[in-house]
Amino acid sequence: MNDVCSINNLTQCLLDGGVSPDLANLLTILGGVVLVATVPLVTVIFLIWIERKIAARVQDRLGPNRVGPFGLLQSVADAVKMLTKEDITPMGADKFIYNLAPIIAFATVVLIWAIIPFTPLHIGADLSIGILYFVAVASIGTVKIMIAGWSSNNKYALLGAFRTIAQLLSYEVPLVLSLLIPVMIAGTLGMQDMVRAQGSMWFVFMAPVAAVMFFIANLAETGRAPFDLLEAESEIIAGYNIEYSGFKWGMFMAGEFMHAFTAALLAAVIFLGGWWGPFVEQVPALGFVYLGLKTAVVYIFGLILRSTVPRVRIDQLMALNWKWLVPISVANVLITALLLKVVDAIGLAPQSGDFFAHLPQTLVLLVGNLVLMFGVATVLRNRGRAQRLVDEAAHPVEHEDAPVVAGAVGH
């Protein structure tokens, strides 16, 4: 054993040490699982801090700054507080599934981390169906809400669970449709292959409408602003997790923060080029840094959006999804499929891997996306204009620039 036994050649080290191949494989996989599952657990602590700091700064206050330097240990203090709270189970609740719901809440989010390519060499499990696995795991998330709402034995929790599931199931449609675009451009469902396909041009330049759709659908899927009416403390007091207290509620909250971060991570991987950056082929560890920077950009944008935009109502939410996002996503899929075939037919498809070979296809797709956005903006403007005319006919507006002549008889 001449080289150092590190993560990269753990299997080889174990085989050299005389362990049977099956067992060596199993131990390597277990080590990878422990590593990939621990990172989100540790990151959650940091995420809660940064969320509170940014929300505070947007609201012109300081945020947590007492516990630890810059308030970094605030989440640790919160976790200790939650652990020492009394664990209440409501009377008549179904004990087994009442306790199962927070576990599923966190587990379904950590499961997504298995397919994320961190560097050219490190990925949890290089499935050939990576994106479909993400969609499948995201759809298991609705099960936990159902059983949490039902087992609390509280009709408000049940109503909150119904509304949450309606929102989640509705916004899965534009999520999946907008994920079809990078799959079509890259030609594969696997995550590592999709990141490799972005070596010359990030997909966000080729499909900006799909990236925006993905971002909005993820905001609704994770229950972040402006779609957070389901746990709006001022309205229905925490929705489906009313009856959860102490650490179980902490698991729900940690799962929600983690889900938002994972959604930002996926947006960075699928649309912003993943681990690509200068010198990443020579020093693979730089992939972590680049991916972290891109995720931070998307996540902090989401945080600022959360503190800025007002909440939407449930009927506005459903109308936004079924009347705007789904038709736009379907039109986007049609336009992109057509343009990709046209580009292929007239011979402009990128053959080599450099930047200028990808430029014609990028420009064609970009023009298609701009036409789509222009069409949507036109429809919106016409509707807004019609609505404004209707409103002005009903309530005439006082015009302030009418001249008041001195001595005129009032009328």
Partner: protein
Amino acid sequence: MFELNAQSIAFIVFALFSLGGALGVVTTRNLIHATLYLILSLFGAAGFFVLLSAPFMAAVQVLVYIGAIAILIVFAVMLTRSMTRLSDIYNSQWLLSAIVAGLLFVLLLVGVILPVWGVNGTQAGREVSSIVTTTVDLGKALVDQNQYVLPFEVASLLLTAAMIGAIVVARDDKE
């Protein structure tokens, strides 16, 4: 014949999920518990699909069955709660149906499965091919004009009809 490696352990685990979940569905009184057992059984089937080199089918199973159909069943259970507790969950012919189901299983196993594919069956000596097709081939087969594009289009028409039909049938007619 049956060595204990990772694949066989996974098979035993998923078989327990499938069969245990199925038994739970038909024996439990609480319908929400029955739905959770159904989710367990569907999860076992998804595990089988992964073992059988069909990962696309496994992901679609989780996405469609667990993520959509099971949630739909839970909604239906909650919307159709009866006010009185049922005294019994089985109807008057449960014993006969148990006998029929048991006989069917024995017939399938002894009469069809074991004689043909069992250890001494007529097709026992086949080698399992290690070349399997991928998801790309499935995608191509579904839109190839000589293969399955027609059933694919008919299936999408069926789904549209089912969606419209379900909305119309379940709509509240009081408005």
